[in-house]
Subunit: 270 residues, 2 copies
Amino acid sequence: MRIAVVAPSCTLKREAADAVEAIVATRGDCELVIHPQCFLSDGHFAGSDEARLSALREVMADQSVDAVWFARGGYGSNRIAEAALADLPQAAGAKLYLGYSDAGFLLAGLHKAGLEVAWGPMPQDALRQGGEAAVTRALDWLVRRDLSALEQGLDGPAMAFNLTVLSNLLGTPLEPDFTGVDLLIEDVGEHLYRIDRSMFHVTASPAVRMVRRLRLGRVSDILPNDPDFCGDEASIVEQWCARSGIAFGGRANIGHDARNRVVPFPRGNR
Amino acid sequence: MRIAVVAPSCTLKREAADAVEAIVATRGDCELVIHPQCFLSDGHFAGSDEARLSALREVMADQSVDAVWFARGGYGSNRIAEAALADLPQAAGAKLYLGYSDAGFLLAGLHKAGLEVAWGPMPQDALRQGGEAAVTRALDWLVRRDLSALEQGLDGPAMAFNLTVLSNLLGTPLEPDFTGVDLLIEDVGEHLYRIDRSMFHVTASPAVRMVRRLRLGRVSDILPNDPDFCGDEASIVEQWCARSGIAFGGRANIGHDARNRVVPFPRGNR
């Protein structure tokens, strides 16, 4: 089992890479190839658009690679996602792609292209408190599709997205088909008024209204609202579900933290 | 000329109301009716959704009101916009609606419903440095469609939006027809990576790609990006225009400041 790590968004911290390599060495059930592009830095990004795209395309086309693991989120995968999906090499279809947060732009597009993708922890999570468990969970899924890594409320086709990322991919060529899926959302570092506004936007989408249910993960590091917003993320999400006729399926065990679990997207047709 | 002020988003400051009333008293060419709803407070909003909707519907249906002036932005007009547009009373069609920022949700929906709307300064702007000029500019447009209040680069049908508001209304029932218009955008209080992400989202929209040109107003109070984003708002906007095939029409004289000018939307059909 050969797992390639690339960084389509921001630069991977060297300490995180070291920690993940130590975990992999202990396990002994897989080989990790951290692409040098992960450590590039070009302004906000882990290298220029060209460098990030080139590394991603390289591992997608590599027949010796069984899985592509996105190094971390941040921002930037949307800038290369469409180009990454053009003229897919045959080898790209025989891999699993794993990540979350900003990598959701790629998960959406890769899923739409018929590839196997899953939401789940990333190498940079090694630096979180309890991060070893998150990394181990991701590897358990990557190496042996260990069901204990899954979000435990899954009982049918599902997708997971950062709410703000989801809002920003609607109407773009990356927008997947949400029909009949449980849509799990989470967010981090937003004001509640922004959560409310994103929920307005997302639940107004006729495509999103095709979901079976919407489930709410954790919304962490909420920025102070002045004045106080009144209400919390759960009341906001429940209200927009009620207003839009989307069934609310309760809370979900995903978020920007070490407890974040794996949510495999339904496998489409190529 | 009777101008009604309502607050579909956040609470109007009493000092702003006083300052605007003093300006109106000096002019003597119009009557200002500041609805008491403007001073309500319910969490983030100028009263509950019901209170804000009720005040807006009241002035829209009032035959003695010639113009509806949105008190200020903030957040919240999207929560009542669809309901405000339902079963429009006859009198709603004989008025001008003026505002900007968060009020863009309403401008979009009212325009789509065939009403006369314009982007321009609001009563709360009285509190800005140089705010008297902004308020006077708005009143000059409201009272006598004074052409000197206009954004001076307009040479055809145009619309103006806060970029983040625009991103959040795409795909909703409020989305207007952008075909052939100059689309002016501005923003305030965002990180450059968010400006980049919003530009990705907005320029990916097939509806937005129908514009004649996109012009960039001021992007103010940019939040620090860590690491430095590299580039500025102009290079970001020009790049996404180039990537999406949208003509970039240069800078525009709008923004969250006292220099903000009036941009009347094209008058549609009811």
